[in-house]
Symmetry: D3
Subunit: 329 residues, 6 copies
């Protein structure tokens, strides 16, 4: 596709005219300055905020994540200069606002309300790309997406998030993938964890091992090298539908100080971007970026890193959507 045509398509699908995308500080902030709508019928991929952090166990603030990621995302270009993907030109990408959650003080009810919303998106054939919010939100999303076929998972994080009970509850930001497996919506054999170095409990690694998940902790990541990590991840995910969940604490605190559970010794943002760029062609049907905590951020670099990772996730999903669309045509 040629560049001018792409830009023309982008302009018609975004909220901004040419000048505004140069003046990144201008205009009401939507994700990547995409057009805002609540109309699912005109939406192929929905960028959606989920400002909820009732599931956190350590530092707070993820509820403020979507607004700041929106703000910083306006600084991200509409095309990917290293892979040449223009996601906004591949399908109808929209910012549909934030997930409405009537409750606020009881995590279990909130998780149910989130699940109901993603069921609606799924029913409308909309691919959801979510900005959290804490990591507890990924379970109700997977529950909506994996109801027919358990999904594969690329999980970048400092933590396994396969814990069971903490403070008397199995719902929290350390358990989405334990819940996903219990609910039968996540396929552990097609799950890869990358960047781990700081699990919550001593039970998470055994659970991952016993259920057949692939674990590439940070030491193994460096021992294998990036190319082999990509290769192995592609092998594990294979052909089926896959989801990608990026916890910002997968990055080292130097790159993402504004994280809910920062853990020293993590990925650089280059490593993370290159890793994501290596996953083109997998059949992604959604993704999320979670745990950006603006109150702990510095000069917006965490939200900016989050926005950039989100953009790579959007690129992967847009290509996958286009491939499926073409196959379906």
């Amino acid at each position: 596709m040629d560049v001018l045509a792409a830009k023309s398509m982008i302009e018609s699908s975004t909220s901004c005219d040419f000048d505004e995308y140069i003046k990144t500080y201008s205009g009401i902030a939507t994700f990547f300055r995409a057009k805002h709508t609540r109309d699912l019928a005109e939406t192929d991929i929905a960028l959606v905020g989920l400002p909820m952090d009732a599931g956190l166990t350590q530092r707070t603030g993820a509820r403020h994540g979507p607004r700041e990621v929106r703000s910083q995302s306006c600084n991200v270009l509409y095309f990917n200069p290293l892979t040449n993907i223009s996601p906004l030109s591949l399908c109808r990408v929209r910012d549909i606002g934030d997930v409405p959650i009537p409750s606020a003080f009881d995590l279990r009810r909130m998780i149910d309300e989130i699940f109901a919303f993603y069921q609606r998106l799924d029913a409308a054939n909309v691919v959801p790309i979510t900005v959290g919010g804490d990591h507890s939100i990924t379970f109700p999303i997977l529950k909506a997406l994996g109801v027919k076929t358990p999904v594969g998972l690329v999980h970048i994080d400092a933590h396994f998030d396969t814990a069971e009970t903490i403070s008397g509850s199995t719902l929290h930001h350390g358990s989405p993938f334990w819940n996903g497996v219990q609910a039968g919506v996540l396929d552990p054999k097609r799950t890869v964890h990358i960047g781990l170095r700081d699990p919550y409990t001593e039970f998470e690694r055994p659970f991952a091992d016993e259920t057949g998940m692939t674990v590439i902790d940070i030491n193994r990541f460096h021992d294998m090298g990036l190319a082999n990590v990509i290769k192995r991840t592609r092998e594990v995910i294979g052909e089926g539908p896959a989801y990608i969940s990026f916890d910002i604490d997968g990055l080292d605190p130097a790159f993402a100080p504004g994280a809910g559970t920062p853990a020293v010794g993590g990925l650089t943002s280059y490593e993370a971007k290159r890793l994501l760029q290596g996953l083109r062609g997998l059949d992604f049907i959604g993704g999320d970026l979670v745990e950006v905590s603006p109150p702990f951020d510095s000069a917006g670099i965490t939200a900016l890193a989050g926005a950039q990772m989100l953009f790579e996730i959007l690129c992967l999903n847009a290509e996958a959507w286009a491939k499926r669309a073409k196959a379906g045509a």
Copy 2:
């Protein structure tokens, strides 16, 4: 007007449902969560951002002001608990986005482009309430509003902003009111400066004095007392159309660290709010809040103070609008 009816009117005119106005951190940020539109026909009062800071002479960053004031304004209630005004219920208040400015590197051209935009608003009978941007923006706004009748001015600031030439130009953030008088759109006899303590040049006070402006510098403010300042201001402004321009550096840097030209020894935010509340009944036809510089802010307190001052300005203008509407009916 009873409260429930007001709330019902508000709900239909805002972008949010009941739950969202409680969750102030949720949703795409518009000013006071007002409905976004670009349709002037459905707008009585336009809240508009003007992210332009090419006129600054000291610290930078005012271009980032509108986005952060939008964000913090979501924390401001839809009604004023101290005056009981619900501006969103008095008229159709809309966030019309940011002023489009094609140029970027030549202040003179930008000032012209701004003027053209406000002419359009004026032609559509829309009352503009603007969030800058640096103070140079007030001149083209006045030029549009005062073309038929020179306006009166309530000006809260650490500086006179009646300077002439700096760095070879008469257009800059220290000269909007010199320009306004030169252009015949500002009535110096109906102009009050409040809070002054740090003029740019030694020529500004003489200009103000010679043209008959009323000057209440910070020492005189305290010597007179708040009640007398309000009384004197009301006398000077009188019956005619008036504009209100609030430079955030009118507040002390403790209350507004994120200012473009901070000056020690200023107003407290209580004094400023009470002052504004004392100006009810004047015939305001527009206003602005300028010079919020987020890069120098701390925990958003400057943007929040700006949002709160903006809300008082909105209340004043909404009441004035309603009064004119009633008189016109």
Copy 3:
């Protein structure tokens, strides 16, 4: 009591020797470097942390409050140079650590667990002075303290906190005093709200008025003057047992940027301290400092202001304890 004797008593009751109280940055941080114990039998007044923020509706972070207030409290002197009170010499003041709360993700259960803990303190005749945490914690504390006699209340805050339901729950940080009245543990006739300027909902002021609470909003505070505010407060509270609840957002954001629900135009820290110093002699049986949110703080000034207010609250309670002890002897 002479100074050297007082110091000697203090030394035996605190965790520090003479040198350490000069080196305020040295040692494991307890509140005011008081001795740490979990033994209630050696405790007259318990300083206790309550790191819980599940009841917040706006900005997060109050869970991090107790640790930072402990840290900054080490910079506060062991005597009050303006009132000459040495609270640590009046009774056995201890830091008993933080309230244990088994739950984490369901506010209702957490409130119950908090209530149970304060029942234990009350049964042991220990006066609790609590550092929150969000304001929802005050209801279970009052429920424990007011079970025999409804307590009077001095409430310093930007908000009424007499709201009923938000996001489907009556338990949250905007409702402790609505709950207190409903439960019959708070006497609205002996309740004074000071500094109000930003209620959550339009129903809070009517509730306060109808139940007979005294409301001194920030405008009235300035119109009355500090001396009259103190006088009126003393009259309303009268002779009976009283509780004091200080929400750090009662201070202006300039003085307390790290607040959960900052509201512009508030009290200065001088006004707040002087107000508290004016309440000596009232029969306080407990108090709290809530809503310090360190992630939004700047250079620790909010936590320091909180620690200083806490110290005044401690002084008031220590004098009241000593007076009761003397009367009982």
Copy 4:
């Protein structure tokens, strides 16, 4: 003196041309953009940095004070718009750089080296205005200035700084005035402390009282009112030579978060400026601004407040110098 003549004089005495004083962010930073020289023969008033903080007992960082105050002082105008003083036109004001101190790790030796430097300034008839550094520096300065006649003192601070021994030493930032009295260089009868609220030890107030110092703590400050505080201060200081020492923690932490020993409930910057403006005509022979700690500052507001207070101190000293010069002519 007319304004243009004054400006012309200023230009010849400063390091900057007209344009540079408008562009406050341009050029190598000296205090108030005054000319830099090490030649005492061309200097009437020396602005000098003293980056030394070995005498601190609480928070560190005052060694970084002079550089940041220089930087922020470039934002202060060359004339005082509220008193119409142009200090740079009254005498030869120079930035002579920083006090050279060969030692670094033994406070006693450093104090001796500082003393030797100020003896040289005094021998050259240069009036020193110093930016610290911690408050321990004031003793060696007084020792040099008061050797013939004990000086009077205006002292604005949260603390008495009349303590004796801390951590085994009588030299530290809490003892300059105890040392000054012991050395016979400070006249306690002509000493006024303003703004006190947080002494280090319980012995400081008795020492002040017993030696006949005037104490206006923060409560008394408000009870008397600003006008009476000024009147009383003028009476106490009287005709003789006087020194002015401004500890930035005299301001409330809201106005000066970057202080070494912040104490809640202090002066506003307006109150402090107005107080200083009220002391015109006293025979000042030097002054200092101490304890600005940039690592704890926020957006430079503390250094800016310090620079503004320094400017008022410069105005007072320049007028006193000119008066003496005229009397001597």
Copy 5:
């Protein structure tokens, strides 16, 4: 050259005595504590500030860059411990202050004024090393330096900066190298871009490719490896005169949060330093460090990184100067 001799030369050429270079926080800040002069006759290499940011399109603040880089540069040693170069001993390195720019509000005029200044430096045979300011300043510098022979260029940046028109102007911080080629002062065949990952427009890479520039984007940088990048760069630059331009956003935001246009996934500061150290022997005739934006910095780490990169650039230029001097002798 032996070390003591070198130090002796340095001392005579810098503003500081031995003690002061240990106390890095002492003294008026010049670049690397070099001697300040405006006398070009005593200057071989001029360190010069250019506080101008009218060409920015995204985040502001570069006008504040020179002052902060000066401040942080005082923390950099006078010798390079990894290459053993002592640039201050190789030639007369001076801090000549900031470029005087009479205009302020019209980028085109400012660019002309900058050009005129560098013509003067060039006429005086002074090698300029500039601290910006935004990247638009590099064009007028190249225009002065490349007038006789088009220069080669080592360009480290996240962006190509070969864009043409943005917001109606060809002058801005994204176009210096497009302008350089158009003006015939930059040799595209001897130009290498390193670290690219975030161009402004889709036209920049084609321009670079078509004119024969060498492009090593961040992915290619890692694929080639540092040693090969250095080798390739040396080949492209070859024997002729070369300029080096370092945009601080070439570093990842973790290393340089205070950048005007931060882009995630960049160079580490180790990689950048090692790269620069690998370019010894090339015939550099000037260089710049641009886009340091202190308002977005954290604890000065961006300014410090900038100062360190500047020092490597100074080392390269000093060696080149000495080589030419020797050849010319």
Copy 6:
């Protein structure tokens, strides 16, 4: 050892019950939530704070290090997920509070007082792991530990710290290892410096070379590769008793902005952790983490990185202790 048994042991030896180690923000902060005691008889490894920064030559603040490292250490797990070491279960690890230092203003006396304290620890057979404070503290510690046998040293730092005299003193944060060699308590042949890039003086490298120390500067570190660095370090240290000293500025400022003497181009936190993990089996008899300067930190990431490095140091020492205990049994 099986996991549950380990946890059971940990619980009995720490200050926290199960719930509290999940709620990392709860409770009075001790290092890694270890039990606090002053009883050396129940202590095998003592975690101890040393809040002293009188030996700094550049940026200040290390006195505030222990308190912040304690706070952040509560976020570190009680087991090492990458090496499977649970140090708290290997021996009795206690937080014994801070080193008492009666002096405050004379470094020489303070160093003597520190030495006396570590003699007491050594006499009690307690392994000390210290959190500074500035690096001058390491000499008196080595003096106590190496009195019988000179110790080997693993030293991670940006600087050699083998300088002699600065500002007239041989005691300062740049000389601990010069002093250690002079005192015969440090074995230079068994000393390895890693990460160097920014020595204070030109005499430090010659001293290191001449005494036979092994120097792996940052360039050599990358040229050798991590595996070879580990191998070489193990060879140099060999079988004898060894000490490990980690200056936080060994990390790049991106990872540790809050350092006393930050130097660009340093280690990543991954590299540092992996390096430490590679030293298992060496006979460590103590260690320290120094120069964390909270006033310059950002969101606590430096203190967190420090806590994580401290945990690896604790793991190494606990394993060495257990090995010696087993050998001794």
